[in-house]
């Protein structure tokens, strides 16, 4: 039996629509496809001179970043604005809110200001889940990255990138390279690839950066690039944080680059038309060679632009689901 760490009910309405977006795990192929299709429609809209749609007009979106981020926050902000929402950005240092009480107080205050959606990034795994379940269930919560757990919008923009370049998922081999242990992106990507039907998902990493029993998520583990990259259609490299060298997980950046850095001599083992992806920001010469990052296989900048469309899709879908659910809860209370 498939192991389930999170039941999907929390993020869905009674009709199965998205009302929060906390994790990819447990969602249906149909729902993920709906997100991709909706995002596609927003991409074509981006070509037009007026980029705004009124889907979130009159709604207030609060970007709650308990952990620093520039790129993700900016794309969320742009996405919300293109949906005509009012946007508030709050950068709250993690140290000031390490106590649960402070986090609760912050959220309750924002709820009292009639916010409609929280986009949450937090250093603790499960933070977005906690807020959706126990703090402000009537506000749509979008997880913008929680600890090592999940980064579902990043995973979905990666899926969109793959679909737009490879057509479908049914016959693909996808390799994820680098620090899987600390990566919320990798976990969400694995769930998404699995649900969308990718038959061959590979992890290429030294054992120090490999999460316990990651195989149970449906991946094959490789320690060596040459074997892991053989014949793949998609190569996803992950960012390597500097502090991994301090905690005895790796000897040096140099050694990591030699063994796991994506360079031309390794990429040649992948299919000739393989695409190369990276969630950013890139450490050139550490996990990826500049020639590859800027080369013909790279779709890294496409990922960034698709990020806005995917976030627009998720935000509009969750807001619609949350509004429906809240109304039906309200009707039920009125009738009882």
């Amino acid at each position: 039996m498939e192991l389930v760490a999170e039941s999907p009910q929390l993020q869905l309405t009674e009709q199965g629509q998205l009302r929060h977006f906390l994790t990819v795990e447990g969602l249906s192929k149909e729902l993920l496809t709906e997100i991709l299709d909706t995002a596609d429609s927003f991409i074509s809209m981006e070509q037009q001179s007026i980029k705004k749609v009124p889907l979130l007009r009159g709604k207030t979106v609060v970007n709650l970043f308990f952990e620093a981020s520039t790129r993700t926050r900016t794309t969320f902000e742009l996405a919300a604005k293109r949906l005509s929402a009012d946007v508030i950005n709050l950068d709250i240092s993690t140290s000031a809110t390490s106590k649960g009480e402070t986090l609760l107080d912050t959220l309750k205050n924002l709820e009292a200001m009639a916010s409609d959606m929280f986009v949450v990034r937090h250093a603790n795994s499960g933070a977005a889940h906690f807020i959706a379940e126990q703090v402000t269930p009537n506000i749509a919560i979008i997880n913008a990255g929680d600890g090592r757990h999940a980064h579902p919008t990043q995973a979905m923009l990666d899926m969109l990138t793959i679909r737009r370049h490879k057509g479908d998922f049914e016959n693909l081999s996808v390799a994820i390279v680098g620090d899987i242990l600390h990566s919320r992106v990798a976990r969400s990507q694995i769930h998404a690839l699995k649900i969308l039907g990718v038959p061959d998902i590979r992890i290429i990493t030294p054992n120090t950066l490999r999460p316990y029993d990651i195989e149970s998520m449906g991946v094959t583990v490789y320690n060596r690039m040459i074997e892991g990259l053989a014949g793949v259609d998609v190569v996803i490299t992950l960012r390597l944080q500097n502090e991994r060298m301090q905690s005895a997980l790796l000897p040096s950046q140099h050694e990591f680059y030699r063994l796991y850095g994506l360079s031309a001599d390794k990429l040649k083992y992948a299919k000739a038309d393989a695409i190369v992806m990276h969630p950013g920001p890139i450490n050139r010469g550490v996990e990826i060679d500049s020639d590859i990052a800027d080369g013909p296989h790279s779709v890294i900048l496409n990922q960034v632009s698709y990020g806005i469309a995917v976030r627009m899709a998720v935000m509009s879908m969750a807001m619609s689901g949350q509004t429906t659910q809240t109304q039906s809860n309200g009707d039920r209370e009125a009738n009882s």
Partner: protein, 421 residues
């Protein structure tokens, strides 16, 4: 003062008794066992009920050394049929001086619901660097010394602690944990930790420390007890040590006999405990260890928290489960599932822990102190804020139905549950 307990099924594993009989309590002690002929004597009708020694709980956290807090939690113990609790030294303040140990017992006596036996800190402030005044702590009533899960500065400090403890016949309670391996993990290192992105604590964090500790115990000859084993291999290590003749005993927290790492699904912080809930294999091995007597005690590992302490993302919540109220009915499930007899189970809740801690408790022989638990093994009840006596409502059992409810608890012959008045 004289009281008869009439018609109950007396189960007293320490004296190998399991029979329907009357029990006579006089002046706080067991005066006689056998039929009562005086129909007018003050009596408790225990027909259809189990009469056993009051339970002995080796691991209870009282958190704050304040009169109302101690009174509330010892009241919960009495309601759970527990008449002796061993109090963890990590209270505020830490039990590392005779005066703190004495104060704790004074406050507990004023409440009067249950015996509270302090466990002294093995090192000053539990800081792991300097020996505590074990002689004074022992004289002040500490039944053992422990550093709990706090780290030692190095293995030499641990060795000195054990040598010193052995000099004064001090029992040392161990919670085996190798900190460098546990790191700041919060759940079992397994597939659930991987999926939820929570930092795992490998099984070896316990077994590596346990192996080292057993070697040091052998070297120093100290009398030792291991608290809250969490994995199958620990049971095996303890069994091997016992087979070699080493004087070691062990207990398990009730949660580890029923929970696994699957219970952290959906980031359920009510199942955030230390050591963490592990696999189904581990759970079954712990049950078997209890059945075979390798693990001679089951404890509540009671850690009452305010709900605010659980209202945060998983890793930021306080670990621990409130367990005094539910220890006995939970444990009775082991009998219902035919893993062991009721007599064997009661041994693990009474004489087993009493012997591990060298307590004069857990036995109802004539002349013994009349600490008595009388319970209905068939009574159903629902765990709810109104049925719990502890201030801690942090239990994953909230809302569930349990079978087995304490009807009367006597402390030295005096009724402490239900309270008079």
């Amino acid at each position: 003062m004289s009281l008869w307990i009439r018609g109950g099924r007396l189960i007293d594993p320490a004296n190998n008794i399991d029979t329907v009989t009357d029990l006579h309590v006089r002046d706080g002690k067991v005066a006689a066992i056998g039929s009562c002929t005086d129909n007018d004597a003050p009596a408790i009708d225990a027909t259809g009920l189990i009469v056993c020694p009051g339970l002995v709980d080796l691991s209870v956290s009282l958190r704050k050394q304040q009169k109302n807090s101690i009174s509330r939690e010892t009241r919960a113990a009495a309601a759970g049929g527990i008449t002796s609790v061993c109090c963890q030294p990590n209270s505020s303040p830490v039990i590392d001086s005779a005066s703190v140990a004495t104060l704790l017992q004074d406050l507990a006596r004023q409440g009067g619901f249950c015996n509270v036996w302090p466990i002294g800190a093995l090192t000053q402030g539990l800081a792991g660097s300097q020996l505590s005044e074990m002689g004074a702590l022992k004289d002040a009533g500490c039944i053992s010394m422990s550093n709990l899960r706090a780290p030692f500065e190095n293995t030499r400090v641990l060795l000195r602690c054990l040598e010193y403890a052995a000099s004064y016949d001090v029992t040392v309670f161990f919670n085996a944990v190798e900190h460098a391996l546990a790191d700041d993990g919060c759940v079992h290192e397994g597939p659930y930790a991987t999926r939820l992105g929570l930092k795992g604590i490998p099984e070896t964090a316990e077994t590596v420390a346990l192996t080292r500790d057993l070697l040091l115990i052998e070297q120093t000859g100290v009398r030792a007890h291991f608290g809250q084993l969490s994995c199958a291999r620990s049971v095996e290590l303890i069994a091997n040590a016992q087979a070699k003749g080493l004087a070691v005993t062990a207990d398990v927290a009730i949660h580890h006999l029923f929970g696994t790492d699957a219970d952290i699904q959906n980031f359920n912080s009510l199942n955030h405990i230390q050591p963490p809930l592990r696999t189904e294999t581990d759970r079954l091995a712990l049950q078997q260890g209890v059945q075979e007597g390798i693990i001679s005690a089951i404890c509540s590992h009671h850690q009452p928290h305010e709900m605010a302490d659980k209202m945060a993302p998983f890793a930021a919540t306080e670990p621990g489960i409130s367990g005094l109220d539910t220890l006995l009915p939970q444990a009775l499930k082991l009998v219902a599932s035919q893993l062991m007899s009721l007599e064997e189970l009661i041994a693990r809740l009474t004489i087993g822990p009493a012997r591990a801690a060298n307590l004069k408790a857990g036995s109802l022989g004539v002349g013994d102190i009349a600490d008595i638990c009388i319970f209905d093994s068939n009574k159903n009840w629902q765990v709810s804020p109104s049925t719990l006596h502890s201030s801690g409502h942090n239990t994953p059992l909230m809302g569930s139905n349990l079978t087995g409810r304490v009807q009367h608890t006597l402390l030295a012959g005096r009724r402490v549950h239900p309270p008079r008045g």
